[in-house]
Symmetry: C2
Subunit: 341 residues, 2 copies
Amino acid sequence: MKNRQLRLKRNIRQGEPVSLDLFDLVETDIPEPNEGQFLVETKALGTSPAQRAYLMGEMSRFHPPLAIGELMRGRGVGPVIKSRHPDYKEGEIVACSTGWQDYSIQDGDQTKMPVKTLQKIHDPQEPLYLHLGTLGASAFAAYYGFLDVGRPKAGETVLVSSCAGGVGSMVAQIARLKGCRVIGIAGGPQKCAWIQDVVGVDAAIDYKNEDLYEKLAELVPNGIDVYFDNVGGETLDAALKNLALRGRIVVCGLISTEYIDPPVPGPRHYYNLIYKRARMEGFFVWDYFEDFPTAEADLVRWYKQGKLTPTERVFKGLESAPEALQSLFAGVDTGIKVIEL
Amino acid sequence: MKNRQLRLKRNIRQGEPVSLDLFDLVETDIPEPNEGQFLVETKALGTSPAQRAYLMGEMSRFHPPLAIGELMRGRGVGPVIKSRHPDYKEGEIVACSTGWQDYSIQDGDQTKMPVKTLQKIHDPQEPLYLHLGTLGASAFAAYYGFLDVGRPKAGETVLVSSCAGGVGSMVAQIARLKGCRVIGIAGGPQKCAWIQDVVGVDAAIDYKNEDLYEKLAELVPNGIDVYFDNVGGETLDAALKNLALRGRIVVCGLISTEYIDPPVPGPRHYYNLIYKRARMEGFFVWDYFEDFPTAEADLVRWYKQGKLTPTERVFKGLESAPEALQSLFAGVDTGIKVIEL
C-alpha cells in the first residue's frame, strides 16, 4: 500500500481554472506515527475558496502560499487507523487538515497550532463526507456566521447570496429552521429552481436574468434584517441599499472581487449603516473551534430529524480534487462540493 | 418684545456655502403656550451637519427638506419662561428643537413625536451653550457612538477623524478619559497642535500634509482597535486597512462624500472586516434619548472634575447662525460650534 499525494507543480496564473495540470501525483510510503501522533486514512476531502489562493504563490494577498513541490493543503475526514495518542483510538473518526493525500499523520496535541483544526466526530454519519459538508466546516461557517454574527430572530427576512453554493445553501436552511423568511440569490433558472425546491427558500432572485434592485424592492419592501454575504461587489451594495432598521450584514466572503488587484471600489451604499443603525461584521469560522461540538450536535440532530437536506455534490477519487475545487468558482454545480476517495 | 426668526428664503445650491443670504429675518409676536405647552427663550443654538441638508430642497437624500418660508430647524437651549405644563416650571432649563428664533413653543408631551428631542437639563452649567456642546448633543453623539458602539477597553488604540471638530474632539477626550491611546486626524498644523494641546491626543496626523497610510503604519503598528469615523472616503479606507483583530469602526458621519450624487465608491478595504473579524456599525444619537440623563450626568461630573475641556467656538447673535453652520464645512474653526443669542 502506498500513499498518493497531489503536490503543487506550478503556480496558477491569473484567471486560470484549477486543474490537475497544476499538480504532480506522487506516491510515497505510508508514514508511521510517532509518540503523540496518529495515522488517519482520508475517506473524503472538502473544498474551500481559500484553497485557490494557496496556488497563487506571490500573488496571494492573505493566505500563506504553497511552495512548489509541497503537498496541497485541504481538510479531510476519515478513521484513525494507527494511534500513539491516548485520546485518539483506532476506528474513531476525525476531520482535520489531511492535505490532498490518502494517509496523513496528525498531532494529537493542538495547543501549539496557530489555528486548531483537528475535530473528533462524536456521532459519525455515513457517508463520512457529510462531516465536511452538511455536518462539517461548510455548515459551521453558516452556523456561526449566521447565528452568532447575524443574530436572526424568527420572522425576520434573511437574504443569502451564492445561495446555491455550499455555505449559502446551509445558511438558507438554518435560516428557514429558525423561522426566518429566506430570499436566496443565485445565477440562472436551474439554480434558482434548486434553491426553491431543495434548499427551500421562500423566494429566489436570478441575478443573471433579473434586476437585483427591482427584485429586492418587490420582495423585501420592509428591508433586509440579515444579509449573509458570500460575494461582495454589486450584490453587497444592493443589500446595503435595502437594509432594514438595525439590519446586519455578515461578511463571509467576497468571491466576486477578492482576487482582483488592486482592490476594486467598495460598497458605495455603506452610509446606510448610519441611516439604518446597521452593522456589518466579518468572522472566521476557526475562531469558533472550541465550540464546534455544539454546532456538530445541533446539525446532526437537525439532520436526523429530517430538517436539513444534504446538498453535497460528490466528486470521485483524489484526481478529481482540482476539478472539485474549480467547481466553487465555475458557478455550475450546486451545493457543497466534496471529494470521496 | 418681538420674536426674531430666520426663515428659508431659497434653497442652497450645490457647493454653495451656508450664509445669511439664504434666509429672511422675520419678526413675529411672541407666541402663547396652550394647555400642555410652554414657552422657551432661546439662549443658544447648536449646529449639526444635517442642518445643511435641510436647505437643499429636492437635492436632499435623507433629511426632510425645509419648505421655502419655513423656520430653520435647529436645537437650542434656554429657560422655560411661561408654562402650562406641570412638568416644566418657569426657570427650568431645557434643550430642545427651538428652531432659529428667540422664542419657541414646546409641547410637554413627547409621546407623539417621531423623534424625541426635548431634554430637561438637570444640573445646568453656565454658559448654557455647554448643554448643546461639551455637555449636550455633540457630546452625546461622541458618548454613545464611542462607548456603546465602539466598546473601547482601557489600553486600546483609538483613531478619530475630524478630531478638531465638535464630535471628534469629544470622542478623543472621552477616549483619553477611558484610558485609551488616542490618535487624532486633523487638517493642518494649527488644528494638529490644538488637538494635542487642548484635546490631549497622544499623537496627531495632519492629513493635509502627511501620508495617512505611512503615519498609521508608524503610529499604530498593531492596528486600530476603535476607529470613530466622521468623514468616510479615503480616511475610512486607510483605517479599514489598518484595523486590529476584532477592530470596530463607528460610522458617525461621512462628511467628505455624503452630498456627492451619485454616491462615490465605498471603502475598497472593507474585506478586512473578514480578515480582522471586525465590525463596522452606524448609530443615531437620538435613539439613545431615554438614556440622555445618564450621559448628561457623566459628562457634567467629568466637567466639574476638570477632566473635560470645553471646546466651544462661540458665534454671537441669531444672524451669525448661518456662518456658524457653514463653519462645520469650512474646515477652519476647531471644536463645537454654538451660537449665543
